[in-house]
Symmetry: C2
Subunit: 190 residues, 2 copies
Amino acid sequence: MQLLKDRILAEGRVLPGNIVKVDGFLNHQIDVALLSEMAKEFKRRFGDAGVTKVLTVEASGIALGCMTAQEFGVPVLFAKKAKSDNIEGGLYRSEIYSYTYKKHVTLLVSAQWLTADDTVLIVDDFLANGEALRGLLDIIKQAGAKLAGVGIGVEKGFQPGGQALREAGVPLYSLAIIDSVDNGTITFRE
Amino acid sequence: MQLLKDRILAEGRVLPGNIVKVDGFLNHQIDVALLSEMAKEFKRRFGDAGVTKVLTVEASGIALGCMTAQEFGVPVLFAKKAKSDNIEGGLYRSEIYSYTYKKHVTLLVSAQWLTADDTVLIVDDFLANGEALRGLLDIIKQAGAKLAGVGIGVEKGFQPGGQALREAGVPLYSLAIIDSVDNGTITFRE
Protein backbone atom coordinates (compact mmCIF):
# COMPACT_ATOMS: atom_id res chain seq x y z
CA MET A 1 0.00 0.00 0.00
CA GLN A 2 1.82 3.03 -1.32
CA LEU A 3 0.22 5.54 1.07
CA LEU A 4 1.55 3.62 4.07
CA LYS A 5 4.99 3.03 2.55
CA ASP A 6 5.34 6.71 1.72
CA ARG A 7 4.42 7.63 5.27
CA ILE A 8 6.94 5.17 6.73
CA LEU A 9 9.69 6.58 4.49
CA ALA A 10 8.75 10.16 5.35
CA GLU A 11 8.32 9.80 9.11
CA GLY A 12 9.62 6.41 10.22
CA ARG A 13 12.98 6.05 11.91
CA VAL A 14 15.21 3.05 12.47
CA LEU A 15 16.49 2.58 16.02
CA PRO A 16 19.19 0.19 17.24
CA GLY A 17 17.94 -3.40 17.24
CA ASN A 18 16.16 -2.97 13.88
CA ILE A 19 13.26 -1.26 15.57
CA VAL A 20 11.22 0.67 13.02
CA LYS A 21 9.74 3.57 14.88
CA VAL A 22 6.41 4.78 13.50
CA ASP A 23 4.98 6.14 16.72
CA GLY A 24 3.95 9.44 15.17
CA PHE A 25 1.14 7.90 13.12
CA LEU A 26 0.70 4.17 13.82
CA ASN A 27 1.17 3.02 17.41
CA HIS A 28 1.43 5.88 19.93
CA GLN A 29 0.06 8.94 18.21
CA ILE A 30 -2.35 7.55 15.61
CA ASP A 31 -3.50 9.04 12.32
CA VAL A 32 -6.99 7.56 12.19
CA ALA A 33 -7.51 8.78 8.62
CA LEU A 34 -4.51 6.71 7.49
CA LEU A 35 -5.78 3.70 9.46
CA SER A 36 -9.16 4.09 7.82
CA GLU A 37 -7.47 3.84 4.40
CA MET A 38 -5.58 0.76 5.59
CA ALA A 39 -8.89 -0.74 6.70
CA LYS A 40 -10.32 -0.14 3.22
CA GLU A 41 -7.44 -2.20 1.80
CA PHE A 42 -8.36 -5.06 4.12
CA LYS A 43 -11.96 -4.72 2.97
CA ARG A 44 -10.88 -5.02 -0.67
CA ARG A 45 -8.91 -8.17 0.13
CA PHE A 46 -11.21 -9.90 2.64
CA GLY A 47 -14.55 -8.26 1.89
CA ASP A 48 -16.03 -11.45 0.42
CA ALA A 49 -14.92 -13.76 3.23
CA GLY A 50 -18.06 -13.38 5.34
CA VAL A 51 -16.26 -11.73 8.25
CA THR A 52 -18.40 -11.53 11.41
CA LYS A 53 -15.73 -10.25 13.80
CA VAL A 54 -12.37 -8.50 13.83
CA LEU A 55 -9.89 -9.87 16.38
CA THR A 56 -6.79 -8.01 17.54
CA VAL A 57 -4.61 -7.72 20.63
CA GLU A 58 -4.05 -4.86 23.04
CA ALA A 59 -2.76 -2.23 23.03
CA SER A 60 -1.65 -0.83 19.69
CA GLY A 61 -3.68 -3.32 17.62
CA ILE A 62 -6.91 -1.83 18.95
CA ALA A 63 -6.75 1.29 16.77
CA LEU A 64 -6.41 -0.59 13.47
CA GLY A 65 -8.90 -3.14 14.77
CA CYS A 66 -11.51 -0.43 15.36
CA MET A 67 -11.08 1.20 11.96
CA THR A 68 -11.24 -2.21 10.27
CA ALA A 69 -14.35 -3.22 12.20
CA GLN A 70 -15.98 0.05 11.15
CA GLU A 71 -15.19 -0.72 7.49
CA PHE A 72 -16.62 -4.24 7.73
CA GLY A 73 -19.61 -3.24 9.87
CA VAL A 74 -18.82 -5.84 12.55
CA PRO A 75 -17.59 -5.69 16.17
CA VAL A 76 -13.92 -5.75 17.11
CA LEU A 77 -12.70 -7.98 19.93
CA PHE A 78 -9.29 -7.48 21.50
CA ALA A 79 -7.28 -10.07 23.39
CA LYS A 80 -6.07 -8.86 26.77
CA LYS A 81 -2.54 -9.49 27.91
CA ALA A 82 -2.95 -10.00 31.63
CA LYS A 83 -5.53 -11.22 34.06
CA SER A 84 -7.55 -8.34 35.40
CA ASP A 85 -10.32 -8.57 37.96
CA ASN A 86 -12.83 -7.49 35.35
CA ILE A 87 -12.60 -10.67 33.28
CA GLU A 88 -14.51 -13.61 34.68
CA GLY A 89 -14.20 -17.29 33.88
CA GLY A 90 -14.95 -18.77 30.48
CA LEU A 91 -11.74 -17.64 28.84
CA TYR A 92 -9.68 -18.77 25.90
CA ARG A 93 -6.00 -18.50 26.86
CA SER A 94 -2.83 -18.71 24.83
CA GLU A 95 0.66 -18.10 26.11
CA ILE A 96 3.04 -16.18 23.84
CA TYR A 97 6.48 -14.67 24.20
CA SER A 98 6.59 -10.87 23.95
CA TYR A 99 9.85 -9.73 22.36
CA THR A 100 8.92 -6.13 23.19
CA TYR A 101 8.64 -6.81 26.91
CA LYS A 102 10.99 -9.83 26.94
CA LYS A 103 8.64 -12.05 28.91
CA HIS A 104 5.86 -14.55 28.47
CA VAL A 105 2.37 -13.10 28.47
CA THR A 106 -0.99 -14.83 28.30
CA LEU A 107 -3.55 -13.66 25.76
CA LEU A 108 -7.09 -13.81 27.09
CA VAL A 109 -10.39 -13.64 25.23
CA SER A 110 -13.79 -14.15 26.81
CA ALA A 111 -15.41 -17.27 25.37
CA GLN A 112 -18.69 -15.39 25.35
CA TRP A 113 -17.64 -13.20 22.43
CA LEU A 114 -16.00 -15.72 20.11
CA THR A 115 -17.78 -18.89 19.03
CA ALA A 116 -17.92 -21.50 16.29
CA ASP A 117 -20.42 -19.25 14.48
CA ASP A 118 -17.77 -16.57 13.90
CA THR A 119 -15.65 -15.92 10.83
CA VAL A 120 -12.71 -13.91 12.04
CA LEU A 121 -10.38 -11.38 10.46
CA ILE A 122 -7.29 -10.89 12.60
CA VAL A 123 -5.58 -7.49 12.32
CA ASP A 124 -2.49 -6.07 13.96
CA ASP A 125 -0.28 -3.06 13.38
CA PHE A 126 3.02 -4.99 13.31
CA LEU A 127 4.21 -8.48 12.44
CA ALA A 128 7.75 -9.48 13.36
CA ASN A 129 8.22 -12.85 15.05
CA GLY A 130 4.53 -13.63 14.84
CA GLU A 131 4.05 -14.58 18.48
CA ALA A 132 0.93 -12.46 18.94
CA LEU A 133 -0.61 -13.93 15.79
CA ARG A 134 0.26 -17.45 16.89
CA GLY A 135 -1.68 -16.79 20.09
CA LEU A 136 -4.66 -15.26 18.28
CA LEU A 137 -4.81 -18.17 15.79
CA ASP A 138 -4.68 -20.58 18.73
CA ILE A 139 -7.61 -18.77 20.34
CA ILE A 140 -9.65 -18.92 17.12
CA LYS A 141 -8.98 -22.66 17.01
CA GLN A 142 -10.08 -23.06 20.64
CA ALA A 143 -13.30 -21.25 19.79
CA GLY A 144 -13.89 -23.44 16.75
CA ALA A 145 -14.27 -20.23 14.72
CA LYS A 146 -13.36 -19.88 11.05
CA LEU A 147 -10.37 -17.79 9.99
CA ALA A 148 -11.03 -15.36 7.14
CA GLY A 149 -7.45 -14.09 7.09
CA VAL A 150 -4.86 -11.89 8.72
CA GLY A 151 -4.39 -8.21 7.88
CA ILE A 152 -1.15 -6.55 8.99
CA GLY A 153 -0.02 -2.94 8.75
CA VAL A 154 3.77 -3.31 8.74
CA GLU A 155 5.51 -6.67 8.38
CA LYS A 156 9.20 -6.90 9.19
CA GLY A 157 10.10 -9.31 6.38
CA PHE A 158 13.56 -9.94 7.81
CA GLN A 159 12.03 -11.58 10.87
CA PRO A 160 10.46 -15.04 10.64
CA GLY A 161 6.79 -14.48 11.52
CA GLY A 162 5.39 -13.73 8.07
CA GLN A 163 7.16 -16.55 6.24
CA ALA A 164 6.10 -19.11 8.85
CA LEU A 165 2.45 -18.07 8.55
CA ARG A 166 2.51 -18.16 4.73
CA GLU A 167 4.11 -21.61 4.76
CA ALA A 168 1.35 -22.72 7.11
CA GLY A 169 -1.22 -21.59 4.53
CA VAL A 170 -2.58 -18.63 6.51
CA PRO A 171 -4.13 -15.98 4.20
CA LEU A 172 -1.81 -13.16 5.25
CA TYR A 173 -2.00 -9.66 3.76
CA SER A 174 0.61 -7.15 4.91
CA LEU A 175 0.18 -3.60 3.64
CA ALA A 176 3.92 -2.88 3.81
CA ILE A 177 6.70 -5.46 4.07
CA ILE A 178 10.07 -4.14 5.14
CA ASP A 179 12.81 -6.39 3.80
CA SER A 180 15.76 -4.61 5.35
CA VAL A 181 16.76 -1.61 7.43
CA ASP A 182 20.49 -1.66 6.63
CA ASN A 183 22.31 1.46 7.79
CA GLY A 184 19.01 2.97 8.76
CA THR A 185 17.66 2.79 5.20
CA ILE A 186 14.25 1.15 4.94
CA THR A 187 13.77 -1.10 1.90
CA PHE A 188 10.33 -2.50 1.06
CA ARG A 189 9.55 -5.79 -0.65
CA GLU A 190 8.19 -5.28 -4.17
CA MET B 1 -26.90 9.77 26.13
CA GLN B 2 -29.97 7.57 25.88
CA LEU B 3 -28.51 5.15 23.31
CA LEU B 4 -25.66 4.26 25.68
CA LYS B 5 -27.88 4.05 28.75
CA ASP B 6 -30.30 1.73 26.94
CA ARG B 7 -27.41 -0.49 25.90
CA ILE B 8 -26.05 -0.64 29.44
CA LEU B 9 -29.49 -1.59 30.80
CA ALA B 10 -29.98 -4.20 28.08
CA GLU B 11 -26.56 -5.84 28.15
CA GLY B 12 -24.62 -4.61 31.19
CA ARG B 13 -24.26 -6.74 34.28
CA VAL B 14 -23.28 -5.89 37.84
CA LEU B 15 -20.59 -8.08 39.40
CA PRO B 16 -19.50 -8.23 43.04
CA GLY B 17 -17.49 -5.14 43.99
CA ASN B 18 -19.85 -2.83 42.06
CA ILE B 19 -18.13 -3.71 38.79
CA VAL B 20 -20.39 -2.78 35.89
CA LYS B 21 -19.56 -5.24 33.15
CA VAL B 22 -20.08 -3.89 29.64
CA ASP B 23 -17.50 -6.02 27.91
CA GLY B 24 -19.83 -7.05 25.11
CA PHE B 25 -19.87 -3.60 23.52
CA LEU B 26 -17.53 -1.16 25.28
CA ASN B 27 -14.23 -2.56 26.53
CA HIS B 28 -13.47 -6.09 25.30
CA GLN B 29 -15.74 -6.69 22.36
CA ILE B 30 -16.43 -3.23 20.97
CA ASP B 31 -19.41 -1.96 18.99
CA VAL B 32 -17.65 0.68 16.91
CA ALA B 33 -20.96 2.01 15.57
CA LEU B 34 -22.04 2.81 19.13
CA LEU B 35 -18.66 4.39 19.88
CA SER B 36 -19.01 6.51 16.76
CA GLU B 37 -22.32 7.85 18.10
CA MET B 38 -20.66 8.56 21.45
CA ALA B 39 -17.91 10.44 19.59
CA LYS B 40 -20.57 12.56 17.87
CA GLU B 41 -21.85 13.57 21.32
CA PHE B 42 -18.37 14.70 22.29
CA LYS B 43 -18.20 16.66 19.03
CA ARG B 44 -21.48 18.42 19.87
CA ARG B 45 -20.14 19.37 23.31
CA PHE B 46 -16.50 20.19 22.53
CA GLY B 47 -16.64 20.90 18.78
CA ASP B 48 -15.96 24.62 19.24
CA ALA B 49 -13.02 24.20 21.62
CA GLY B 50 -10.32 24.12 18.93
CA VAL B 51 -9.26 20.56 19.70
CA THR B 52 -5.98 19.58 18.01
CA LYS B 53 -5.50 16.20 19.66
CA VAL B 54 -7.42 13.48 21.47
CA LEU B 55 -5.59 11.95 24.45
CA THR B 56 -6.52 8.65 26.07
CA VAL B 57 -4.87 5.77 27.89
CA GLU B 58 -4.30 2.16 26.92
CA ALA B 59 -5.92 -0.22 26.54
CA SER B 60 -9.67 0.14 26.45
CA GLY B 61 -9.58 3.93 26.03
CA ILE B 62 -8.00 3.54 22.60
CA ALA B 63 -11.20 2.47 20.88
CA LEU B 64 -13.25 5.49 22.00
CA GLY B 65 -10.18 7.65 21.43
CA CYS B 66 -9.96 6.55 17.79
CA MET B 67 -13.62 7.09 17.03
CA THR B 68 -13.49 10.52 18.70
CA ALA B 69 -10.36 11.51 16.79
CA GLN B 70 -12.07 10.50 13.56
CA GLU B 71 -15.05 12.71 14.42
CA PHE B 72 -12.82 15.71 15.22
CA GLY B 73 -10.43 15.10 12.29
CA VAL B 74 -7.36 15.11 14.56
CA PRO B 75 -4.85 12.46 15.72
CA VAL B 76 -5.34 10.39 18.86
CA LEU B 77 -2.47 9.87 21.28
CA PHE B 78 -2.60 7.16 23.93
CA ALA B 79 -0.60 7.08 27.16
CA LYS B 80 1.25 3.82 27.69
CA LYS B 81 1.22 2.09 31.04
CA ALA B 82 4.68 0.60 31.24
CA LYS B 83 8.14 1.24 29.93
CA SER B 84 8.68 -0.68 26.72
CA ASP B 85 11.87 -0.78 24.72
CA ASN B 86 10.16 1.00 21.87
CA ILE B 87 9.74 4.31 23.68
CA GLU B 88 12.86 6.46 23.84
CA GLY B 89 13.66 9.37 26.10
CA GLY B 90 11.74 12.63 26.06
CA LEU B 91 8.76 11.36 28.00
CA TYR B 92 6.09 12.89 30.15
CA ARG B 93 5.47 10.57 33.11
CA SER B 94 2.76 10.46 35.72
CA GLU B 95 2.31 7.81 38.37
CA ILE B 96 -1.21 6.68 39.14
CA TYR B 97 -2.80 3.91 41.17
CA SER B 98 -4.70 1.32 39.15
CA TYR B 99 -7.65 -0.02 41.12
CA THR B 100 -8.20 -2.61 38.39
CA TYR B 101 -4.72 -4.08 38.77
CA LYS B 102 -4.21 -2.99 42.40
CA LYS B 103 -0.78 -1.50 41.81
CA HIS B 104 0.92 1.72 40.85
CA VAL B 105 1.52 2.21 37.14
CA THR B 106 3.31 4.99 35.32
CA LEU B 107 1.60 6.68 32.39
CA LEU B 108 4.01 7.59 29.61
CA VAL B 109 3.57 9.95 26.67
CA SER B 110 6.28 10.90 24.23
CA ALA B 111 7.02 14.62 24.54
CA GLN B 112 7.35 14.72 20.77
CA TRP B 113 3.61 14.33 20.25
CA LEU B 114 2.19 16.70 22.86
CA THR B 115 3.30 20.32 23.09
CA ALA B 116 2.20 23.76 24.25
CA ASP B 117 0.62 24.24 20.81
CA ASP B 118 -1.96 21.52 21.48
CA THR B 119 -5.53 21.84 22.69
CA VAL B 120 -6.44 18.46 24.08
CA LEU B 121 -9.66 16.54 24.51
CA ILE B 122 -9.20 13.65 26.94
CA VAL B 123 -11.50 10.66 26.45
CA ASP B 124 -11.85 7.40 28.32
CA ASP B 125 -14.41 4.64 28.43
CA PHE B 126 -14.81 4.62 32.24
CA LEU B 127 -14.44 7.05 35.10
CA ALA B 128 -14.47 5.72 38.66
CA ASN B 129 -11.78 6.95 41.03
CA GLY B 130 -10.32 9.23 38.40
CA GLU B 131 -6.72 8.08 38.74
CA ALA B 132 -6.16 7.69 35.00
CA LEU B 133 -7.61 11.15 34.37
CA ARG B 134 -5.47 12.65 37.10
CA GLY B 135 -2.41 11.24 35.32
CA LEU B 136 -3.53 12.47 31.89
CA LEU B 137 -4.27 15.96 33.24
CA ASP B 138 -0.83 15.99 34.86
CA ILE B 139 0.75 15.08 31.51
CA ILE B 140 -1.14 17.86 29.72
CA LYS B 141 0.14 20.28 32.35
CA GLN B 142 3.71 19.03 31.88
CA ALA B 143 3.36 19.62 28.14
CA GLY B 144 2.01 23.12 28.68
CA ALA B 145 -0.93 22.14 26.47
CA LYS B 146 -4.44 23.53 26.80
CA LEU B 147 -7.28 21.33 28.05
CA ALA B 148 -10.46 21.47 25.97
CA GLY B 149 -12.31 19.05 28.22
CA VAL B 150 -12.83 15.47 29.27
CA GLY B 151 -15.29 13.11 27.56
CA ILE B 152 -16.24 9.92 29.38
CA GLY B 153 -18.39 7.00 28.31
CA VAL B 154 -19.58 5.64 31.64
CA GLU B 155 -19.04 7.46 34.94
CA LYS B 156 -19.58 5.58 38.16
CA GLY B 157 -21.18 8.45 40.07
CA PHE B 158 -20.94 6.60 43.39
CA GLN B 159 -17.14 6.74 43.21
CA PRO B 160 -15.29 10.00 43.85
CA GLY B 161 -13.51 10.71 40.53
CA GLY B 162 -16.19 12.69 38.74
CA GLN B 163 -17.12 14.93 41.66
CA ALA B 164 -13.48 15.77 42.36
CA LEU B 165 -12.89 16.79 38.74
CA ARG B 166 -16.04 18.93 38.60
CA GLU B 167 -15.08 20.67 41.85
CA ALA B 168 -11.67 21.37 40.32
CA GLY B 169 -13.39 23.11 37.40
CA VAL B 170 -12.55 20.49 34.75
CA PRO B 171 -15.07 20.56 31.86
CA LEU B 172 -16.24 16.97 32.28
CA TYR B 173 -18.91 15.41 30.09
CA SER B 174 -19.98 11.86 30.93
CA LEU B 175 -22.42 10.24 28.52
CA ALA B 176 -23.89 8.01 31.22
CA ILE B 177 -23.55 8.49 34.98
CA ILE B 178 -24.43 5.49 37.10
CA ASP B 179 -25.54 6.66 40.54
CA SER B 180 -26.08 3.24 42.09
CA VAL B 181 -26.01 -0.47 41.37
CA ASP B 182 -27.95 -1.61 44.44
CA ASN B 183 -29.02 -5.27 44.30
CA GLY B 184 -27.68 -5.45 40.78
CA THR B 185 -30.07 -2.75 39.55
CA ILE B 186 -28.39 0.03 37.61
CA THR B 187 -29.75 3.54 38.28
CA PHE B 188 -28.62 6.48 36.16
CA ARG B 189 -28.33 10.09 37.24
CA GLU B 190 -31.01 12.28 35.64
